[in-house]
Symmetry: C2
Subunit: 223 residues, 2 copies
DNA sequence: CTAATAGTGTCTCTGAGACACTATTTG
DNA sequence: CAAATAGTGTCTCAGAGACACTATTAG
């Protein structure tokens, strides 16, 4: 905020309602998907109004718990959507948040909508489609500088699983040997192996610490 | 926003005041600086309360015009600051915005505070110091992918001027030949020359179109 | 054995960075 | 002329990407 508006007191202006909406992204069946919930205007992102004195991230958490059965995620602010006519019910600002989760923790009755080319394939209520688009870009930015920071794969995974995840997130094929050399420094081998592939067992890795990727990895991922 | 909160109407909740604050960055005398204005709590970013039905960017523009004599800039949302106790006068959320300007357009009576290591050297009111820090990071992100997108140098400049600007923004020395090869593709020669240096005249360039930099430039700039 | 997948040695070629040389001005 | 700055040719070395080979499983 600021110094006061030359004599205007805080209460002099009508205030907007402030809401939060959350784009919960995941990767399932080789596709980026987003959690949506039913609303009178069709599928929408889970959201809620901010309660008095509440933090935005707490409101986001509350919305996710009550509407999608998801709790304890960490949110990123994506952008404040402030078109005065974005909600016919009145003046409502909404802070869009983004997060990502492993597909397994989304309950089966929660609906997932595929996201292709940064756009949900089903059109969403309000300006929620634009929120999803920005969330996907944010996801890419974060995945370009760190190995699976949202833990979509959980804490143990093979290089094949990791590469498939990155191919879906960045929507491009990635060569296995080059990919391996780019991410290897950010991983720690667990000693375990996985036979999921059907051929030679794959080493199982976990993220090392922050799992930071070199700048060169971002160049590879963004083409 | 979202589907309504199960029966709660829009007016049922007390609403926060919503403010905007703007970190106007510039580069002057080899230093990143930020525009501050006086406030009862000491130097603060220019800001104001959002008027009914107003867009955040319009409020930001209004704050800058009335408090710093700057208009028509383009703003980037930096983050919503929402600590319930961030303003003792009440519950005030503030959307921090960032922008950058050529030093020449800042009127001489407007105060500039140097920003070192992403922190203003003078402590600012409220959480404005944190807003400045985030704005500097945003500035770096934007300058890493495009040539002087905010036009701090105006539309014509020599490579020396451009390199000095980037050295200040990224706080590191940049080799002249390597720097030149990284940015050259994003520039168009004007045919004019500048004698500002005192030696051989320097070619004057302008940004070509979007002036997008290659990914490799980001790697150089971020070390 | 074959098929399938995992992992790596190695080659090539690009290009980033360093160095130094040439070019063009002022005094 | 010397001094200062601008611009570039060239060398080297790292490393990205491609290819192909070896490794380890199942059947």
């Amino acid at each position: 905020m600021s110094n006061e508006d030359s004599g205007k007191a805080l209460t002099d202006y009508p205030r907007p309602s402030v809401a939060v909406d959350v784009a919960v992204l995941t990767v399932h069946e080789e596709t980026v998907k987003v959690v949506v919930v039913p609303s009178p205007r069709g599928p929408a992102l889970p959201g809620t109004f901010l309660h008095p004195g509440e933090r935005l991230a707490d409101a986001a958490d509350r919305a996710l718990r009550t509407k999608a059965g998801l709790g304890g995620l960490d949110f990123h602010q994506i952008g404040m959507f402030d078109a005065p006519d974005r909600d016919e019910r009145g003046w409502v600002l909404s802070m869009a948040h983004g997060t990502a989760v492993p597909p397994g923790i989304v309950e089966s009755e929660v609906e997932l909508v595929a996201v292709v080319d940064e756009k949900p394939v089903t059109s969403l209520a309000f300006d929620h489609g634009a929120m999803v688009a920005l969330s996907v870009r944010d996801l890419r930015d974060r995945y370009a500088s760190s190995v699976d920071p949202a833990g979509i794969l959980g804490d143990r995974f093979t290089l094949l699983e990791l590469r498939r995840l990155y191919e879906v997130v960045f929507d491009k094929d990635l060569p296995k040997d080059t990919f391996r050399r780019h991410v290897f420094g950010a991983l720690t081998a667990t000693g375990e192996t996985s036979l999921a592939g059907g051929g030679r067992p794959a080493e199982v890795y976990r993220r090392s610490g922050a799992a930071a990727l070199p700048e060169s990895a971002a160049a590879m991922l963004r083409s």
